[in-house]
Symmetry: C2
Subunit: 131 residues, 2 copies
């Protein structure tokens, strides 16, 4: 079985409180994470909640990155979903841990789109578009 | 331990090929799924890839829904990430399976933001905003 995509789920606890409610900081950080992974950014969408908390998504040519922050719990949930052979999602994960200064970071990986047959040319065909 | 959010990961195989590459259909379907779950839509962002494939996200007051489609594999990866006590993400999942006519649907749930202590008033405090 081969997977069409890798999905990293990050549990970032013990983050720097102030950073989790700074919209510009969170947007820049998630975009930088996408670039650190070698991904191509298509567009992003972020939203600041009242009284606190941010949700944001960066759509990349290779799928997406998302973040939801709970400043009141010093916690952020980050997802890094990438397809193709040209990205390094661990680099995105490392950047998120570092920038949010998480003192308790957990990462788990879920393979998405497990297929019995994935043409070996598939990543090359889609290079520059989706994977 | 209590979780701040529920995250449903759907593997939708054997979907109707044509629907997976129809941007309007995918956008309407993911938005309808959010509403079926009882969520409040904040905004959405979708993108059509060449030669085929769609990525899209609906940011909701309770977190997000996302979809990535691979029409060439009759496959879609759907994530339904919800916080708070007022949503029913299983209804969103059911709607996605039905609309895409998936013949092989798998669902797994990951608890996000497991905390030793979550104030019992927390969902009420955030009602109408994030959770």
């Amino acid at each position: 079985m081969k997977a069409l995509a890798r999905h990293l789920l990050l549990e970032l606890k013990g983050c720097r409180h102030d950073r989790l409610n700074d919209l510009d900081f969170i947007r820049d950080t998630l975009r930088d994470a996408a670039l650190a992974a070698g991904a191509t950014i298509i567009k992003d969408s972020f939203y600041q909640f009242a009284p606190y908390g941010i949700s944001g998504v960066v759509i990349i040519a290779e799928s997406h990155l998302s973040i939801h922050t709970w400043p009141e719990f010093d916690y952020a949930a980050v997802d890094i979903f990438t397809c193709g052979m040209t990205t390094n999602p661990e680099k995105a994960a490392g950047l998120m841990v570092q920038r949010l200064e998480s003192k308790d970071a957990q990462l788990r990986e879920v393979k998405r789109g497990l297929m019995a047959e994935v043409p070996t040319v598939y990543p090359k065909q889609k290079a520059g578009t989706r994977a």
